[in-house]
């Protein structure tokens, strides 16, 4: 299918998984990770209110700019200054993100 992209996710044990996700369903990266049965806490379900979906971006894809809410939440969780930190629930999947590589942050532990 055209609208499937590949994403590489390194879990907390350091294991790299390749997941496939559709770009036409309004899924966030957090939801794609969850749907593939990788462990990610994501307490607030994607409202930028918990930071338990924190990831480090490992590839140089162009990502959507951070919203105020994402910035504020990363700040509260002491992750704002830490390079390549994003909330995976705030990154919506699009074809340009094919090949994206991320690593789960410590806060995602279930």
């Amino acid at each position: 299918m055209d609208d499937l992209i590949k994403i590489y996710v390194t879990d907390l044990d350091g294991v790299k998984h390749c997941i496939e996700a559709p770009t036409d369903m309004g899924l966030s990266l957090m939801e794609a990770i969850k749907a593939n049965e990788l462990q990610i806490k994501a307490t607030c379900g994607g409202m930028a209110l918990c930071a338990t979906c924190h990831v480090y971006i490992k590839s140089d894809h162009l990502l959507p700019t951070m919203s105020e809410d994402e910035e504020a939440m990363l700040d509260d969780a002491f992750l704002l200054g830490i390079p390549h930190s994003r909330l995976s629930c705030q990154i919506y999947l699009k074809p340009e993100l094919d090949g994206l590589e991320v690593q789960l942050g410590e806060n995602t532990a279930v």
Binding site: C44, C50, D69, D76, A77, F78
Partner: protein
């Protein structure tokens, strides 16, 4: 010693609804919560968000749902131990449970209901050397008694509503208030943000943006902090009696994990017949439990609580028979 029939750990929606269902069959309840107010995640994480999947309520703000649940439980006069964490649980000689909180408050009941949600809400703590050392010696994460700040110098850190609200409040009480925030914008009520800005321009408080507390100093008690400004790349020391980091709370399972309950990761495994755990007399309802097909939704927790109290009743009164009565028939007979 506080005595009751059902001792409920967690005053989130599921704990609160348990009070109502237990009350209908004349069981008394007492709730313990680490938060200072009831409501669990609804109060702490999303009080102003609408919920759309409570049966019969097309839309309700989380804060209002908590208010309604409190009102619904009120006829059954629940007791509350708030702002304390359930710490230790042991069986007494007569087969009851004795639960002691981190503040030493003792509770006794034949039945314990764990409605602990995602766990105990604990403050997010900044990563600073000596933070542990100064806890309760100048560093506080939760403001319990604002009077202790009267005439004192206070440094607050954070960018959300609690940092803003306490800055406003303490500006009237403390000798000086400094609000330190890493960013230049706040996530809070526009009105509070405006009032903080106004106080800062009037010189009543000091507002340090793009800044962070980076070190703590003192002998037995905190007496100084270092504040780094990232934009100007400089660090200055400031005398202070208190440092109050307000970065919100996040849930942790906490002491419950040492109670010999069967766990699946951070959740308590239960039997879906009555939501009992592996330990007789201890039940678990709401987000904290786990069973095949579990969904962490408020409505599922309500259902679990309703079935659970029936089983609890039979444990307390093995000789009595319970007959289901509709509330339309029996009404709500308050205690």
């Amino acid at each position: 010693m506080i005595e009751t029939d059902l001792l409920i750990i967690g005053a989130g929606p599921c704990g609160l609804f348990t009070v109502f269902e237990a009350g209908l069959i004349k069981l008394r309840c007492h709730l313990i919560d680490a938060l200072a107010e009831p409501g669990g995640q609804l109060t702490e994480i999303y009080p102003k968000k609408p919920i759309y999947d409570i049966p019969g309520l097309p839309s309700i703000l989380a804060g209002d749902l908590v208010k309604n649940l409190m009102e619904q439980a009120a006829p059954f006069k629940p007791g509350f131990t708030l702002g304390e964490r359930a710490e230790t649980l042991e069986k007494t000689n007569d087969g009851k449970w004795k639960l002691v909180t981190n503040k030493g408050t003792e509770h006794l009941a034949p039945i314990v209901v764990i409605a602990g949600g995602l766990g105990c809400f604990e403050p997010r703590k900044p990563n600073l050397d000596l933070l542990d050392k100064f806890e309760d010696k100048g560093v506080e994460y939760i403001i319990k008694d604002p009077e202790i700040y009267r005439g004192q110098n206070v440094v607050i850190a954070g960018g959300g509503d609690s940092a803003l609200d306490w800055t406003l409040f303490l500006s009237e009480v403390a000798k000086s208030v400094t609000l330190v925030h890493r960013r230049t914008t706040f996530r809070g009520h526009p009105d509070s943000i405006q009032r903080v800005m106004d106080l800062a321009s009037a010189g009543k408080i000091e507002l340090l943006l793009n800044s962070e507390v980076t070190a703590l100093h003192g002998e037995d008690h905190l007496d100084k902090v270092s504040i780094t400004n990232f934009e100007e790349n400089n660090t200055a020391e400031r005398n202070t009696d208190h440092f109050i980091p307000l970065f919100g709370l996040s849930p942790k399972l906490g002491p419950i994990k040492d109670w010999q309950l069967n766990l699946n990761k951070e959740s308590i495994s239960v039997n879906t017949f009555d939501y009992s755990t592996n330990i007789p007399g201890i039940y678990a309802v709401g987000d904290i439990n786990d069973y095949p097909g579990k969904l962490r939704l408020i409505l599922c927790g309500f259902h679990e609580a309703t079935l659970m109290v029936q089983s609890a009743f039979k444990r307390i009164y093995p000789e009595k028979n319970l007959v289901l009565k509709y509330t339309t028939v029996s009404g709500v007979n308050s205690f």
